[in-house]
């Protein structure tokens, strides 16, 4: 990264300053943004809670007689559970980002911020398509993509509402910035006659020129590209004379605990996040446990911070402890959020009791498991016995596919993961044969 972009460190510092500035006068910037959107012919709706965001969008759809909506990537829409409330209002909402489309078909939640279907293999996707679309099975990635393109093309032009997120909101001009590679966001914001953009209030940047720094960092941090295939800078609905584009543009600004986070000087820098996913990619914990284990919309290191603070979160308050504090995340963060520092602050709060701790029965279970482990590790003989037991159990479980009920309380972990296959023999057995014999 740095070899290709020698000014990388200067860019990071500049980006940090831009986001810090944006937060320092957030109210002014939001008001400026609102004024420009309205001047351009759009509407801005402020939602303090997920309920309000959902209510507004569903009501809007109902009032305009919308029966179908198409959606491009929006973490905020996941945060407020938008799709469910649209369904309740009689509006079918189809995800159009390929990864989101796949997991929508499968009825699952995203496991990674940039590649939501990362946990599914091509064969998984092939089976899913074969089942849902009654087409012959293929695991050829190009064929699967072409199938998705074919189906979604119809959806874009049949929908009455296009829903998107926003990577940035520019205060100076009232511009919504959407970054993508597929082209689905361009279609969602061009084909239907109404565009609804959802964004957290922290997405604000003060000036258009600030995007020069942030866009360069975002693409490289998220996917390693110098620039994504498409960047849309949208200001208001289509103008008179323009043929393509929506007749109406609605921007929904969501708070959901962000202003509370802002009030907290020890953790407010987490609001600088530009949602690139770089911290997830380098985090040893995320790489081991995967995105679903975080229990909320935002996973990985940044998720460990923000999840507990969003009002609607059901994530466990002990997430800050799910870190080795290795600092890899802080090294790669394009806006220089000192994630380990923030996690330490959060940990001290949990210990001080200012944040509710885990429920009692979970703690008891954890203690019991730890004691059992300590017992097994306490002597070589017990260790050998325990490892033999585990190998036998694993072999049995894999063969009989009884992994879920066999492991009972650990079912949440194994529900989405295959059990590892045990090696034919333990290290000690290998050692006895190979080392004793030769050298």
């Amino acid at each position: 990264m740095v070899s290709e972009v020698p000014e990388w460190e200067a860019l990071r510092e500049r980006a940090r300053q831009i986001k810090a500035d944006a937060l320092a006068r957030l109210d002014e910037h939001l008001l400026q943004f609102e004024a420009h959107v309205i001047a351009a012919g759009g509407t801005v709706h402020w939602a303090a809670t997920p309920e309000e965001a959902r209510r507004y969008v569903a009501e809007l759809g109902r009032a305009r007689g919308v029966s179908k909506a198409v959606k491009s990537k929006s973490m905020v829409s996941e945060e407020v559970h938008l799709n469910q409330s649209l369904e309740a209002a009689g509006i079918t909402s189809t995800e159009t980002d390929l990864g989101e489309y796949i997991i929508q078909l499968a009825g699952e939640r995203p496991s990674h911020i940039i590649a939501p279907a990362l946990h599914k293999s091509r064969a998984d996707v092939g089976r899913l398509f074969a089942e849902r679309f009654t087409v012959p099975f293929t695991d050829d990635v190009e064929a699967l993509t072409a199938e998705a393109r074919r189906r979604l093309r119809r959806e874009f032009f049949a929908a009455g509402m296009g829903i998107s997120g926003a990577n940035f909101l520019v205060a100076e001009t009232g511009t919504i910035v959407i970054v993508e590679n597929e082209g689905n966001a361009r279609l969602c914001t061009s084909a239907p006659r109404m565009h609804v953009a959802l964004a957290g209030i922290e997405k604000i940047v003060p000036r258009v020129a600030d995007l020069a720094v942030l866009l360069r960092l975002l693409a490289r941090s998220a996917t390693g590209q110098p620039m994504t295939s498409y960047v849309s800078l949208i200001t208001g609905p289509r103008r008179p004379g323009e043929r393509d584009g929506p007749d109406e543009l609605h921007v929904v600004l969501l708070d959901n605990g962000r202003s509370r986070l802002l009030a907290d000087p020890q953790i407010r820098e987490a609001l600088q996040c530009i949602r690139c996913g770089a911290c997830q990619n380098v985090c040893p914990v995320y790489r081991s446990i995967g995105g679903h284990a975080y229990g909320g919309v935002y996973a990985g290191p940044i998720g460990a911070i923000v999840s507990a603070h969003l009002e609607s979160s059901t994530a466990a308050p002990d997430l800050p402890f799910a870190s080795t504090l290795c600092g890899a995340c802080a090294d790669v963060c394009p806006v220089k959020i000192n994630i380990p520092d923030v996690l330490l602050h959060l940990r001290s709060r949990v210990m001080a009791g200012s944040v509710p701790d885990e429920p009692l029965d979970r703690r008891r279970r954890q203690r019991a498991l730890m004691r059992a482990w300590a017992l097994a590790m306490a002597s070589p003989a017990r260790y050998r016995l325990a490892s033999r037991f585990v190998r036998v159990a694993l072999r049995l479980a894999r063969r009989r596919r009884t992994s879920r009920w066999l492991l009972g309380a650990l079912g949440a972990w194994t529900g989405r993961r295959d059990l590892p296959s045990p090696p034919a023999r333990s290290f000690r057995q290998w050692w006895d044969v190979n080392r004793r014999a030769g050298s």
């Binding site: 510092e13 500049r14 300053q17 810090a20 500035d21 320092a24 006068r25 109210d27 008001l31 420009h36 709706h45 402020w46 939602a47 303090a48 309000e52 390929l98 990864g99 590649a115 990362l118 599914k120 091509r122 990635v141 993509t145 393109r149 093309r153 520019v170 001009t173 597929e182 082209g183 689905n184 361009r186 061009s190 209030i201 258009v208 995007l211 020069a212 720094v213 866009l215 996917t223 110098p226 620039m227 295939s229 498409y230 849309s232 800078l233 949208i234 200001t235 103008r239 004379g241 323009e242 043929r243 393509d244 584009g245 202003s259 509370r260 802002l262 009030a263 907290d264 000087p265 407010r268």
Partner: protein, 228 residues
């Protein structure tokens, strides 16, 4: 209600600012020039390299006739039965509105204002030809600005997009573009400014790169380089 939510949020933010008790003047910023890319290289060469790296095909032509020949050759190569041409590509100076010859009767169509969606030629077209407002040299990016002359769909729904760009429209980087666009009040006047770098792509399935998803699968950029 919308009104009270707005008040709630603004109050929350103001409270947060006062509570944290930090100084909130302008922080000193690293000057933009200090973080820009180096510009020693020729803009045209830089652009061509960046665009090719992103997966676009770039063709340099020295005059307008050669541009038109290239457009038609691409239509044949890409096996397009019909081509949709945006208004700016059809008018002066490009004049690519109808390049069909008796031997290759490819249909060139411009979208008329009053045509219904089901008859819109952009959906059946095998190729779309548009102009571009600017090009960004450091990343090989095209800049398309929505207007009656340069609509959105001709560069989006077609499988192959051909963009016509004069080298005089090349800018060094995104920073230069954004300063220019805001000085010209373009954001107030146009609903969409779109930056296009290469064809559409995804890696959502097993992180395997696939070219051509919802947007065009092929991008050809024809550069008019009449500097000589």
């Amino acid at each position: 209600m919308s009104h009270s939510d707005r008040d709630l949020i603004l109050a929350g933010i103001r409270c947060a600012r006062d509570a944290s008790g930090e100084a909130h003047g302008h922080t000193t910023r690293t000057p933009l020039e200090a973080v820009g890319p180096s510009r020693s290289e020729d803009l045209v060469e830089q652009f061509m390299r960046g665009a090719r790296l992103a997966g676009a095909a770039v063709w340099a032509e020295s005059d307008l006739d050669a541009v038109r020949v290239r457009v038609h050759a691409l239509a044949i190569e890409e096996k397009a039965v019909s081509v949709v041409v945006s208004r700016d590509a059809a008018s002066a100076p490009w004049r690519c509105g109808d390049l069909s010859t008796p031997t290759d009767p490819i249909r060139y169509r411009i979208r008329a204002g009053d045509v219904a969606e089901q008859d819109d030629p952009v959906f059946a077209a095998g190729m779309g030809v548009t102009g571009a407002a600017y090009g960004l040299a450091d990343t090989g990016t095209l800049v398309v600005v929505s207007s009656p002359e340069q609509e959105r769909l001709e560069s989006l729904v077609v499988p192959v997009h051909v963009a016509l760009l004069a080298t005089t429209r090349l800018l060094p980087d995104l920073g230069t573009l954004l300063l220019r666009l805001s000085a010209e009040q373009r954001f107030a006047r146009h609903s969409a400014v779109t930056l296009i770098t290469g064809p559409s792509r995804t890696a959502d399935i097993e992180l395997t790169l696939t070219i051509g998803v919802h947007g065009p699968r092929k991008l050809h950029i024809i550069l008019l380089d009449d500097r000589a």
